[in-house]
C-alpha cells in the first residue's frame, strides 16, 4: 500500500514542468491565443517528443501504456503552465477508442496519436448542458451521422472526431474523419483562448461505428472530468504561487503586503483548501484504472470540487494583486480564463454533484 507518487511519476512531472518552463513561456501562450486556430503544431510536436501524447496510449499501439494518473500529471503540468492546445479532447478520444474495444480503429489511429502526427477529439454534450447519454439526439443511420454538437474542442484541426450518438440499437460511439462530407464546424469565441471550441454539425456525414453501448462514452467522460480536475489543481497552485511571490515583493505602507495579516490569512485559506485537494485528484485518477467501482462518482465529485477551488483561488489572486491583476498585460488573467473553461466544460459543478448524489443511491 502506498499513497504517493512514484519516482518515475515525480520525474515525469518534473521533466514536463521544466520543458514547458523553457519552451512555453506566457509570451508563447499569448501568441497561440491570438492565432486563428489556437493550435501550435510545433508545441504539440515538442510535447509528443517529450512523450506526453503517448502516455495514455496502450503499448501495443505504440504508446507508453501508462495509467490515467500519469496522463493526469501531464494535465496538471499543462494547467500550471497554462499550455494551450487540444490535449483534453485528444485524451478523451484516446480513452474512448481504447474502451470501445475496436482494435482495427485503435490500430489505425493510436500509433499516430502517440507520435503526435494525429490529433483526435471527442464530441459528447448537446443542447444546453445535456451530457446524459440516454438523452443524446445525434443519430446514426446506415453509417451516416446527423446531429449537432455545440462544444467540440478543436474540431477544425482534429484528424478524427469520436462522437457519442444513438442508432437503432441504442447509444454508441462513431468516428468521423477529417474532411468527411456533411460535417461543418463553426469556431466559437470562448473566454479561455487556450482551449478552442467549435460547434460541429453533421448532416448525413459518413462515420464508422466504434462500439455499441454507453460504457466507453462514460469512461471517456470520466477521463475528461479527471483531467479537468488536475488542470484546476495545476492552475490554482500556480496562481497561489504567483500571488505569494507578489506579496513578498509589493510594498505599501512601507512594508511588503505579505506582512499584512489580512493578506496572509486570505492566502492561508486558499492553501487550506488546495493542499488536501491534491490527494482527492490523485485518488480519482488512481480509481479510474484500479478501483473501478469508485471511478465514476469520484470523477464527478473531483471535477466539481476542483473547479470551485480554482475559481476561488483566481478570484483572490486577482484581488491580492490590486489593479495590476485586472490588466490584460499581467498573466494572471490567463489562468482566470482557464478556470472559467474548466468550470463550465462538460457541465457545471451543480450538475456533477447531482450525479454524484444519484450514483450514491441517495
Amino acid at each position: 500500500m502506498d499513497f504517493g507518487l512514484s519516482e518515475d511519476q515525480l520525474l515525469l512531472k518534473d521533466t514536463i514542468h521544466r520543458w514547458l518552463d523553457a519552451e512555453c513561456p506566457t509570451t508563447r501562450v499569448r501568441a497561440v491565443m491570438e492565432s486563428d486556430d489556437g493550435h501550435d503544431v510545433g508545441l504539440w510536436k515538442g510535447l509528443a517528443e517529450l512523450g506526453v501524447t503517448s502516455l495514455g496510449v496502450p503499448a501495443e499501439h505504440g504508446g507508453a501504456g501508462l495509467d490515467l494518473l500519469d496522463v493526469a500529471l501531464a494535465a496538471e503540468a499543462l494547467g500550471w503552465n497554462c499550455t494551450p492546445g487540444p490535449f483534453l479532447g485528444n485524451q478523451m478520444a484516446v480513452t474512448a477508442l481504447v474502451e470501445s474495444g475496436n482494435d482495427a480503429q485503435a490500430k489505425r489511429w493510436l500509433p499516430a496519436v502517440a507520435s503526435g502526427d494525429a490529433v483526435l477529439t471527442f464530441a459528447l454534450g448537446e443542447g444546453l448542458g445535456e451530457h446524459d447519454v440516454a438523452k443524446l439526439a445525434t443519430r446514426a443511420d446506415g453509417g451516416k451521422l446527423t446531429g449537432e454538437k455545440p462544444l467540440v474542442p478543436y474540431a477544425q484541426i482534429a484528424d478524427a472526431i469520436v462522437v457519442a450518438a444513438h442508432d437503432g440499437d441504442g447509444p454508441g460511439l462513431w468516428l468521423v474523419e477529417r474532411g468527411a462530407p456533411g460535417a461543418t464546424f463553426t469556431a466559437l469565441s470562448g473566454i479561455d483562448m487556450t482551449r478552442r471550441l467549435a460547434m460541429a454539425r453533421f448532416d448525413g456525414t459518413p462515420a464508422s461505428k466504434l462500439c455499441a453501448g454507453s460504457q466507453a462514452i462514460g469512461r471517456a467522460r470520466d477521463a475528461g472530468l479527471t483531467l479537468l480536475a488536475f488542470d484546476c489543481y495545476g492552475g490554482a497552485a500556480r496562481c497561489l504561487d504567483m500571488t505569494v511571490q507578489y506579496a513578498k515583493t509589493r510594498e505599501q505602507f512601507g512594508h511588503v503586503i505579505g506582512e499584512f495579516q489580512g493578506v496572509k490569512h486570505q492566502l492561508a485559506d486558499l492553501a487550506t483548501d488546495l493542499a488536501p485537494s491534491q490527494s482527492l485528484c490523485w485518488y480519482t485518477a488512481h480509481a479510474f484504472d484500479h478501483i473501478r467501482d469508485k471511478a465514476e462518482r469520484h470523477a464527478a465529485i473531483a471535477k466539481a470540487h476542483m473547479t470551485d477551488i480554482f475559481d476561488r483561488v483566481t478570484r483572490y489572486a486577482i484581488e491580492l494583486h490590486g489593479g495590476i491583476g485586472f490588466t490584460w498585460e499581467y498573466d494572471l488573467q490567463l489562468w482566470w480564463r482557464r478556470a472559467v473553461f474548466d468550470r463550465a466544460f462538460l457541465g457545471e459543478a451543480r450538475y456533477h454533484r447531482a450525479r454524484a448524489a444519484d450514483l450514491a443511491g441517495w
Binding site: 506582512e259 488536501p276 465529485i301 441517495w362
Partner: protein, 406 residues
C-alpha cells in the same frame, strides 16, 4: 500509488475478522455501547476495564493498534499503511471492540516520550498510557498565555531534589479525571521566553494541586482550571533538558494537530447526517430528496474525501521519512472547518426542530447533531485558534514574512 485491495489486504481483513471473532465475544459486544454515535467518541474506545485491557494487549501484540509506537515500549510497531489502518478501524468499529484510546496521553504524550523521554520514563509511562491505565491531561494554557503560549508564567524553582511549582493552568481538558499532567513550566525566568520553559510530568495526586471544573458552552464540564501551590515535583520528572521544554512540546503539538486534524470525526458526522437525511421527512418528503441538500452534501463530501486521502498521503509520507509540508500543516484548520459545516448542515436539515437540545427525543436523531455542532466550536480553538493556524500556514507553509511583533 497503490491502493488496490490486493489479495494481501483481503487476507489481512480476514485475519483481523478472525482475531476479533475469537477474542471479542458476543457477550463483550453486548456489554459495549454502540460505537456509531455521531460526534461522540466511540463507546468501545472508552472502555478501559480489565477485560478491555486484556483484549488490547492481545491486539497490540498482533500489531493491530498503536502501530507507530515501538514494540519494546508497548506499541504495535508496524510500517505505516493507510489501507491496513482503515481496515483495522472499520473492523474494530464493526465488532464494537476496544480500539486505540483517543486522548492526549496516547496521541500526544506517548509519541513525545518515544522521541525525547529517558529510558526510565518510557518504561514507566508508555504502555500504561496506551492501555488507558494512566490518564493524562495537558497543562499548557494559562489565563494570560493562550495563543501566545510561550509567555506562560507558572514557575518552577529547583530546591534540592524537587522542583517547587506555583501558578495556574486553564482549559485543561479532563484534568478532573487525569492521573498525570504533562505541563510547560517556566524554570529559567531570565532566559528569552522560548528558552526558559521546561516540560514536566506531574502526578495529579501531589499535594498542592486543586482542580476546578469549568462548564463549557455544551453544558458539560470537560475542561478545568488547575491551581498549583508549592507542588513538589521530583527533579528527574522532566522530559528533555531543562529550558528546552518549548522545543520538546513542538512534537506534542505536531501530534495534536494530527489528532484534531484527523478526518474520523468529520466522517462520522457526515455519515450520520446522510443517514438522518434519508430517514427524516420534512414537509412530507425525505430530506435527502431536496436538491439543495443533495448539492450541499456532495460539496462537503468533496472536502471530506480530500481530507481522508490527504490523511493517506501523510501516512505514506511519514513511512517514507518525508516532511509533506503544507498538506500536513493545514489539516487542523481544514477538518475542523469542515466538521463545523457538516454539523451546521444537519442543524438546517432539522428545520424548525433544529432549535431543540441534544437528547431531546422530539428532535431528529435525538438532537445528537447539536452536540457535534457545539463541539466543533471548541475543536476549532483547542490546539491553536483558527487565526493562529492561518499564521502558521502562511509563515511556515507559504514562506510569507513572520509578524515582527511575535
Amino acid at each position: 500509488m497503490n491502493l488496490s485491495y490486493s489479495v494481501e489486504y483481503e487476507k489481512f481483513r480476514e485475519e483481523v475478522r478472525q482475531f476479533l471473532a475469537e477474542n471479542w465475544t458476543e457477550a463483550d459486544r453486548a456489554a459495549t455501547p454502540d460505537a456509531d454515535g455521531v460526534g461522540a467518541m466511540t463507546g468501545s474506545a472508552l472502555r478501559t476495564d480489565d477485560r478491555a485491557t486484556d483484549f488490547r494487549r492481545k491486539a497490540i501484540a498482533r500489531g493491530y493498534m498503536y502501530r507507530h509506537i515501538p514494540k519494546r515500549y508497548g506499541g504495535g510497531e508496524q510500517p505505516a499503511d493507510p489501507l491496513k489502518a482503515t481496515i483495522l478501524a472499520d473492523e474494530f468499529r464493526r465488532a464494537r471492540a476496544p480500539f486505540e484510546i483517543m486522548g492526549q496521553g496516547p496521541s500526544m504524550l506517548a509519541p513525545t516520550l518515544v522521541e525525547h523521554g529517558t529510558e526510565a520514563q518510557k518504561q514507566q509511562f508508555i504502555e500504561g498510557t496506551l492501555l488507558g491505565r494512566i490518564r493524562w491531561c495537558q497543562g499548557y494554557s494559562e489565563p494570560n498565555a493562550g495563543s501566545d503560549l510561550a509567555s506562560l508564567r507558572t514557575r518552577g524553582v529547583l530546591e534540592g531534589d524537587h522542583w517547587v511549582v506555583n501558578g495556574q493552568k486553564i482549559w485543561t481538558s479532563n484534568a478532573h479525571e487525569a492521573d498525570w499532567m504533562f505541563a510547560l513550566i517556566r524554570t529559567e525566568p531570565d532566559a528569552p521566553k522560548h528558552d526558559g520553559i521546561t516540560y514536566m510530568l506531574i502526578d495529579m495526586k501531589t499535594p498542592g494541586i486543586t482542580v476546578r471544573p469549568l462548564r463549557q458552552l455544551t453544558g458539560e464540564a470537560d475542561f478545568n482550571e488547575v491551581f498549583l501551590e508549592n507542588v513538589r515535583v521530583p527533579k528527574d520528572s522532566i522530559v528533555g533538558e531543562r529550558g528546552r521544554g518549548w522545543y520538546v512540546s513542538r512534537s506534542t503539538l505536531k501530534n495534536e494537530r494530527a489528532l484534531i486534524g484527523n478526518a474520523t470525526f468529520a466522517r462520522r458526522t457526515f455519515d450520520g447526517v446522510q443517514m438522518m437525511a434519508q430517514l427524516t421527512e420534512v414537509r412530507g418528503a425525505p430530506l435527502l430528496e431536496d436538491p439543495v441538500f443533495r448539492d450541499k452534501l456532495v460539496e462537503l463530501e468533496g472536502h471530506l474525501l480530500a481530507a481522508e486521502y490527504n490523511g493517506y498521503r501523510l501516512l505514506t509520507a511519514g513511512g517514507r521519512g518525508e516532511d509533506p509540508g503544507l498538506p500536513s500543516i493545514v489539516t487542523k484548520l481544514h477538518t475542523t472547518t469542515l466538521g463545523y459545516h457538516i454539523s451546521k448542515l444537519a442543524m438546517d436539515m432539522m428545520s424548525d426542530r433544529g432549535c431543540l437540545a441534544p437528547g431531546e427525543q422530539n428532535a431528529p436523531a435525538a438532537g445528537m447533531f447539536g452536540t457535534a455542532y457545539m463541539w466543533y466550536y471548541g475543536m476549532a480553538l483547542g490546539g491553536g485558534a483558527p487565526n493562529i493556524q492561518r499564521n502558521v500556514i502562511s509563515e511556515r507553509g507559504l514562506g510569507l514574512p513572520r509578524d515582527p511583533r511575535r
